[in-house]
Point group: C2
Chain length 132, copies 2
């Protein structure tokens, strides 16, 4: 397992325009990660990555997160089969957020509640409506 840390961007220009992946982890050592379906564009879930999870995601092409509730590395789908194969990884301007375009394996789902996406509820007329 690779544990070498990511570099720290020396200045704003390097952070925003540089070609080095220099994630700005928060005080808890995490960046936020958005998983988008590579084919449909649907937003599947939002989770967090520590440096190890990000490195493993980059190196293996399979999405790894950090579970804040369990306080441990989380290879998404390891038990459910809903592995996420990473088609593309992007970082935002100030490198505190990661976007991964993924192809969910197994039953194609991403959400523990049973929906394909975690964002299965829409705000309509003052209440949340499920759209499976």
């Amino acid at each position: 397992m690779t544990t070498a840390p990511f570099p720290i961007a020396p200045d704003k220009h390097a952070l925003e325009r540089g070609d080095q992946l220099a994630p700005r982890f928060n005080a808890d050592g995490l960046v936020v990660a958005v998983a988008q379906h590579a084919d449909t564009g649907e937003i599947l879930m939002l989770a967090w990555m520590n440096d190890e999870a990000l490195k493993l995601t980059v190196e293996t092409g399979v999405a790894h997160y950090f579970s804040r509730s369990r306080n441990e590395l989380w290879k998404k789908g390891e038990t459910s089969g809903q592995l996420q194969l990473v088609e593309e990884l992007r970082v935002d301007c100030d490198q505190d957020a990661v976007l991964i375009k993924v192809r969910p394996q197994g039953d194609g789902g991403a959400c523990h509640v049973g929906f394909r996406s975690c964002f299965y509820r829409v705000w309509e007329d003052g209440r949340l409506v499920e759209r499976g």
Copy 2:
């Protein structure tokens, strides 16, 4: 301005399957918000909302965030013209993340660096490549 707080879901079922918007703000009083282009599906940016920003977003149909760097309410586009008209608002299973599908106004951009999306850099062959 409405400042009444959002309800707190009484249990897991209400949180995950209920029809009440009961956001789980973090210790800083924030939920993470992903803005997706309503027409193209492109992920434009990731930012944060406090209760006031979320309420204003829901009530006005214009995206409001909370700027962590300026520590204040941030009506996106107020100075740049890049207002984001909200087409749809979704919440995730455990209600600590919000997805808004928006139509950016002004020049259609969302990123302060000048790109349409903040996620303008793709990880390719061990480095970040800009894709404008």
